[in-house]
């Protein structure tokens, strides 16, 4: 295997792991399977489109702001009142949020796909162990890897992280022990917004286009990755996402050209096989909170 192939494979794996973490985090803490995750990604991508002619740090900052605002608004307007509802109600509510945000975007700012100009630094190349690797692939790897490491640090080493994990483990007990729900839950949404923004920045750099329904596929990847890895275990979710991304690249490499159109059938057949053998996911946590 060549270096450029490995970088592409690990890069997509890291991106998918990031998408998966964003979905799994809220499921762990709230029991919320957040189908509106794709729309948070779309909001960040829209910011990248809107500020494409500003210096790139501005566009990146605005992407973060847009994503966090949409994430927090969805929490405040929809999920706040449903905090003690059962997971199915939450899931349906997230569907509603997803469709609502998507429709509003389609009616107002994104009736059709829009192009986003590439930044010149993305087209550069580096020689790495004899192979020419694009800066874009390396940045994907660095950003997604960095974000994953930051989430690991946040959850493992900080007070907020401990509260988040405690809330994920047993929400009622954590509340009794002084974890403030009104602080922890919005914090979780902020973290999710930041993760969605980073994934979105990488997606826009790769694709160069923004549309109202662009979040659908990343969201599905997140959900499937989380199910494969184990819903209630963040490490498992990251692993599931990573494997999904790596398998996608691998399939596109080994499949003959006339079968590439059916890549997803091969991919999801594998997912079904994995779930038959391990229905709880690859690395499953102790239990899933069902309020």
């Amino acid at each position: 295997m060549s270096v450029d192939f490995l970088v592409a494979m690990v890069g997509l794996g890291a991106l998918y792991a990031l998408l998966t973490i964003g979905v799994a985090l809220l499921f762990g803490i709230l029991g919320l399977m957040n189908f509106a995750y794709g729309e948070i990604i779309m909001a960040a991508a829209f910011a990248m489109y809107l500020f494409q002619h500003s210096p790139w740090p501005v566009a990146v900052a605005m992407a973060l702001v847009f994503a966090v605002v949409v994430a927090l608004l969805s929490e405040r307007l929809a999920f706040f009142r449903l905090r003690d509802a059962d997971p199915v109600t939450l899931m349906i509510a997230s569907f509603a949020v997803s469709l609502a945000v998507q429709s509003v975007a389609r009616m107002t700012v994104l009736p059709r796909a829009q192009g986003v100009s590439p930044k010149s630094f993305l087209t550069r190349h580096l020689d790495l162990l004899g192979a020419s690797v694009s800066v874009r692939e390396l940045l994907t790897l660095a950003l997604c890897g960095g974000a994953l490491a930051a989430v690991a640090l946040l959850l493992g080493r900080t007070g907020l992280g401990i509260q988040l994990r405690a809330a994920a483990e047993n929400f009622q007990m954590a509340k009794c022990l002084g974890v403030r729900a009104n602080l922890v839950i919005p914090c979780a949404f902020v973290v999710v917004g930041v993760l969605a923004a980073i994934s979105s920045i990488v997606l826009v750099w790769r694709q160069g286009s923004v549309s109202a329904d662009m979040g659908l596929q990343p969201m599905l990847i997140g959900v499937v990755g989380a199910v494969v890895g184990g819903m209630s275990n963040l490490r498992g979710a990251a692993l599931g996402g990573f494997l999904l991304g790596a398998a996608t690249t691998l399939l596109e490499t080994v499949l003959p050209a006339n079968l590439i159109a059916f890549r997803d059938s091969f991919l999801f057949t594998t997912v079904i096989l994995v779930l038959i053998v391990r229905p709880q996911g690859l690395l499953s946590g102790a239990k899933v909170r069902v309020s």
Binding site: G115, S117, S134, R206, Q207, G208, S209, S211, M214, E252
Partner: protein
């Protein structure tokens, strides 16, 4: 006593309901009758996408068609009859297309205009076929739209077709002296598949060779990293890459080829056209060529006063320039329809259909265009405009005709 009173009330309600119903029925019948009796106007139903992923291909041709309708009406209409239009948004959803078309047929349209894509038009075309109302896709490119057996003999497309686009791209590349092609095939829709297939066959028949071919699933989230790695290893290296795709996925694929450092020229079909390609590939991209329908507004160099007038009228009517050359197809389509209607012996479905298949060459802003025949229900002959992208600008390269279409044994009634 009590019960009889109640039954009386019940009877009264029933009578009232029956009266309302029959009144509605009479109203419905009478309005239908007056519509078919007077025939002071021709009604065209537009079932196009105003939103969703197909909207970029439907909205502007639809607006350009309305512009032409207004021009024709201002000049007195078709044989003294004004053209009336009824529009419904099909939201890029095949399910909605069927319902919208059924509804438009119920409203008494004489002719239907369907979305710019085979897959999306199909449900509407089937409904139109069974009602024997001619249905013209405003710009679907797949040749299956044009043979009279797949969807029916009342179904047309006002586009040259992706088979012609692929073959024209091949003819242009061969004329340029390029011998070795690499085919990058988008598998997402029928349009892209037939563009790739006909490109390959025509390029081979013109003496070129395909040094490698590859495909990607296409759609909204495109990532061609693996395909790029294989292209880099192709031996011998190609003179150009034919990207048989559509926007935004096609623009994404080209952007990723560039970002991976591939400098080989790129050739593609018309669905890559538009301002969004420029945005996606950026201002440093060069050597991208595609076979569009015209070069105007955002593209410069095609000297045609009628084309400039079209772009100017469109811009002043809608307050924005057309953002792709598909708009012109909608404009030309209405010209072709009005020509056919002027020669139709009546406005009944079969007569309008007969007039359409008997169409004569039409003078359009891009030159002579021959529309339909008995066996080929799409544009039979039309010059395509090759547009080149260089440093953030689109410029006219030249006009190219495919001359002939290779026979691939795929039931394409326009080939040979």
């Amino acid at each position: 006593m009590f019960s009889s009173a109640r039954s009386k009330t019940g009877r009264r309600v029933a009578v009232a309901a029956a009266a309302v119903l029959s009144a509605a029925l009479v109203a419905g019948c009478s309005s239908g009758a007056s519509g078919s009796e007077s025939k002071k106007e021709v009604v065209i139903g537009f079932a196009l996408s105003q939103s969703g992923n197909m909207a970029p291909f439907d909205v502007e041709p639809g607006k350009a068609a309305m512009l032409r309708v207004d021009e024709i009406n201002a000049a007195g209409g078709v044989n003294g009859k004004k053209i009336k239009t009824i529009s419904e948004d099909v939201r890029s959803d095949p399910n909605t297309v069927g319902t919208a078309v059924t509804d438009l047929i119920a409203k008494g349209v004489n002719l239907l205009v369907l979305p710019c894509d085979f897959d999306l038009s199909a449900p509407g075309a089937t409904a139109a076929q069974s009602a024997k109302i001619p249905a013209i896709s405003i710009c679907a490119g797949d040749p299956k739209m044009a043979n009279t057996t797949t969807l029916g003999d009342y179904v047309f497309s006002a586009n040259a077709g992706s088979d012609v686009e692929g073959a024209t791209g091949a003819a242009w590349a061969a004329q340029r002296g390029w011998k070795k092609a690499y085919l990058l095939q988008d598998q997402s829709i029928e349009y892209t598949k037939s563009a790739g297939k006909y490109f390959e066959a025509q390029f081979k028949s013109l003496g070129g060779s395909i040094v490698g071919s590859d495909s990607f699933p296409g759609g909204d989230n495109v990532d061609v990293s693996s395909q790029i790695l294989r292209l880099k290893r192709a031996s011998p290296q190609p003179d150009f890459v034919y990207v048989a795709s559509w926007n935004p996925g096609g623009a994404t694929a080209i952007r990723q080829l560039h970002q991976a450092g591939i400098q080989t020229p790129i050739v593609g079909p018309a669905a890559l056209d538009g301002k969004s390609l420029l945005n996606s590939v950026g201002s440093t991209a060069k050597d991208i060529y595609y076979t569009a329908f015209a070069c105007y507004a955002y593209c410069s160099g095609q000297k045609s006063p009628t084309l400039d007038k079209f772009a100017k009228d469109y811009t002043s009517k809608y307050g924005a320039q057309p953002s792709s050359s598909y708009a012109l197809l909608g404009y030309n389509m209405v010209s072709a329809i009005s020509e056919a209607l002027a020669h139709a012996s009546s406005l009944s479905g079969p007569d309008v259909r007969a007039a359409l298949v008997d169409s004569q060459p039409l003078t359009t802003p891009v030159g002579q265009v021959k529309y339909f025949s008995k066996t080929c229900h799409k544009i039979i002959d039309m010059p395509l405009t090759v547009v080149g992208v260089d440093s953030g600008k689109m410029t006219y390269v030249g006009q190219q005709r495919a001359k002939s279409l290779p026979k691939l044994g795929d039931n394409n009634s326009c080939a040979g």
